[in-house]
């Protein structure tokens, strides 16, 4: 029982991290219909910039987080205006090719600039053990889970409660009608991509402070994020959270009671099952564009 509680806690913590790392992907996919294969590299850039800000510039963690958000937001905006803009409304294949190309470019540029060595992002809190009854966690992890929750809620509020969010949803439902009523759809698309980029890079920096940032991590992050998005349903907020938590807990229990060496199997088995039984994911709204 004691073991079970620890496994469950481990699973919930990693599940929250999975949800946060998948959020940017699901947002861009759901609102823009762009399958962003460069998602993992945006996450990686967040981690690398976090390392640079906290160890090279000597900023504290939170100032670093703000800096990363501002720089990566601008970067995402520019990527949309200069690259994705050109292939909008041409179907999915050009978008896939473009983002794959972007991911290769970003990964190799980062490799050239900072090299292969793992990088350390200075954490805001200590990682000393904190014993809560039968379960051991660290302050840092509790903080990271809380910050993840804050980021997820903030993103949800932006989309549901603000003017910008309404414009995003309107553009997604029918870009022509949105343009007719005066929404500047080009800006809305750029803002959406920038938001997805910011969330991905903040996840990269936050998790970099717990694990470590690494240039070559992009591919792995993308794969996990796709698993979460397919489980939860494309573009669904609740789905990303449920999919992330589900994956985290199942992996922890599988690793704990079966074998840790086989842990990646379980995620893909769940994806195949989902695709067979509920092809639109657990929480999909099945919204199709007119």
């Amino acid at each position: 029982m004691e073991l079970f509680l620890q496994y469950l806690a481990n699973g919930l913590v990693t599940g929250t991290f999975y949800a946060l790392s998948a959020l940017g992907l699901t947002l861009i996919l759901g609102l823009m219909r762009v399958v962003n294969f460069a998602h993992g590299e945006l996450y990686m850039l967040g981690g690398v910039m976090g390392w640079w800000a906290t160890t090279r510039l000597g900023l504290d963690f939170f100032s670093g987080l703000v800096l990363v958000a501002v720089v990566m937001g601008a970067f995402g905006w520019l990527v949309d205006r200069f690259l994705i803009e050109r292939i909008r409304d041409q179907g999915e294949e050009p978008g896939i090719l473009l983002t794959i190309g972007l991911s290769i470019f970003l990964a190799n540029t980062a490799l050239l600039v900072v090299g292969t060595a793992p990088l350390k992002v200075e954490a805001p809190l200590s990682a000393a053990p904190l014993i809560l009854g039968p379960v051991v966690v660290t302050k840092l992890r509790i903080f990271a889970v809380a910050l993840s929750a804050v980021l997820i809620v903030a993103a949800w509020l932006v989309i549901q409660k603000t003017r910008l969010g309404r414009a995003m949803r309107a553009t997604f439902q029918d870009p022509m009608a949105a343009r007719l009523v005066g929404v500047r759809t080009a800006n809305v698309y750029a803002a959406t991509f920038a938001m997805g980029t910011v969330i991905a890079s903040l996840a990269g920096m936050l998790l970099g402070s717990i694990y470590s940032a690494q240039v070559a991590i992009g591919g792995l992050v993308s794969i996990k994020a796709f698993v979460v998005v397919i489980l939860g349903g494309m573009g669904s907020f609740a789905g990303a959270i449920a999919g992330g938590l589900l994956l985290g807990v199942v992996e922890a229990l599988w690793g704990g009671y079966v074998a840790t060496g086989w842990v990646d199997i379980i995620g893909f088995a769940m994806v195949i099952l989902t695709l067979l039984c509920r092809p639109y994911g657990l929480f999909s709204k099945r919204a199709e564009r007119a």
Partner: protein, 377 residues
């Protein structure tokens, strides 16, 4: 004008010094990864080799001739390394080859060396079966995992007094092989195996694995991992408040590892083939030489490159001529006094007789706990 004067003076000096070596220089081919993911280590190995050559040339060369290294980038890839070997053998006419670094690249170069009947020595590639292929011109002056396991199992069982050991390895040939070798040797010494688990390259969260470790009540844990995975694992190990003795193989006890792991690295043990803090005059001289040339202390790969090149140069001197067959026969007679022991070769070309070291990390420095000699396999 000033510039031309300088150039003339330098040209004059070079021709003077080359008169000392009236005959043509002896060329030795080196294939190392100079670009790509292991470039950092490949360059360290090359630096070691260059140091050995400079030292020898300063003392008059070998057979009265100057030694010249011809270096090619093999990128740790079999195809590139084979191209490099062909070029070195056909165009540069080298008398011996060294390197290739990665086991798969070395394995690809071996048949080429065999075809041209040129001696080929690796100082790094550790895959056990390289020396089992019946090659006549291949030698290895590197520790294999099998040798490490044999030596360290005794130390773990007897000196650290471990009774129940858990094993964690990265999920590949090397990690699984390490876990299998160590668990077999330790079980033969009466140490109980309480857990065997693997994780994938690039894994980031080890809490589940470590929870299992805590439940297994092991008094020691063996970990086969490289820098990135190993450092995260050790950090999370301390986060969970575990007290088990950690014993690692892989690139532990390096400055990179200690920097990434931070205070969590205190007290862990690592099995390494070389540490710059080894006692002995020969090692001290080598460390001083290396540090004055490259402004850093030599690591495992710097020492490996230095040793391999010295073994080759000694063999050429002993052969008395640059005939490849004569060098090969002389290599078999190797008895080289290295900074870390005395290298010899078996009939299959497997090196032995050198020391491997158990270090413990204290105050961010690896301290030598004990060293042991590899026995003839």
């Amino acid at each position: 004008m000033q510039y031309w004067k300088h150039a003339l003076v330098i040209a004059g000096l070079t021709s003077l010094s080359s008169m000392a070596f009236a005959q043509e220089s002896i060329k030795i081919g080196v294939i190392e990864p100079l670009t790509g993911s292991v470039a950092y280590n490949g360059i360290a190995s090359l630096n070691g080799a260059k140091l050995a050559v400079e030292r020898r040339n300063a003392a008059g060369g070998v057979l009265g001739r100057k030694i010249e290294l011809v270096v090619e980038d093999g990128q740790c890839r079999p195809a590139n390394s084979v191209n490099a070997a062909e070029k070195l053998l056909q165009r540069d006419k080298v008398v011996a080859l060294s390197g290739a670094f990665c086991s798969s690249a070395t394995a690809a170069v071996m048949p080429i060396a065999e075809k041209y009947k040129i001696p080929f020595l690796t100082g790094v590639s550790s895959k056990a079966d390289l020396t089992e292929k019946g090659m006549q011109y291949f030698f290895r002056s590197a520790e294999t995992d099998r040798q490490m396991s044999k030596v360290f199992s005794k130390i773990l069982a007897q000196q650290l007094q471990l009774k129940k050991v858990a094993y964690i390895g990265v999920n590949d040939d090397w990690g699984r092989g390490g876990v299998e070798d160590f668990s077999k040797d330790l079980e033969a010494l009466g140490v109980q195996t309480v857990m065997k688990e693997y994780f994938d390259h690039g894994a980031t969260d080890f809490y589940t694995l470590l929870t299992k470790l805590r439940a297994s009540k092991a008094d020691g844990v063996f970990v086969a991992a490289e820098t990135q995975d190993g450092s995260i694992l050790v950090k999370q190990f301390k986060e969970l408040g575990l007290q088990t003795k950690i014993f690692g193989v892989g690139s532990w006890a390096t400055a990179d590892f200690i920097g990434l792991t931070g205070p969590a690295s205190e007290g862990i043990y690592a099995a390494v083939p070389y540490a710059s803090s080894l006692p002995g005059e020969r090692n001290k001289a080598f460390v001083d030489l290396y540090a004055s040339a490259y402004k850093e202390k030599p690591g495992k790969y710097g020492a490996a490159g230095y040793n391999a090149m010295n073994i080759l140069l000694d063999a050429i001197a002993r052969a008395g001529k640059t005939e490849p067959d004569a060098i090969r026969d002389a290599l078999r007679q190797t008895d080289y006094a290295a900074p870390n022991g005395q290298y010899r070769f078996t009939e299959k070309g497997e090196g032995y007789g050198f020391d491997v070291v158990l270090v413990q990390i204290k105050d961010k420095e690896p301290h030598v706990i004990t060293q042991a000699r590899t026995e003839k396999p």
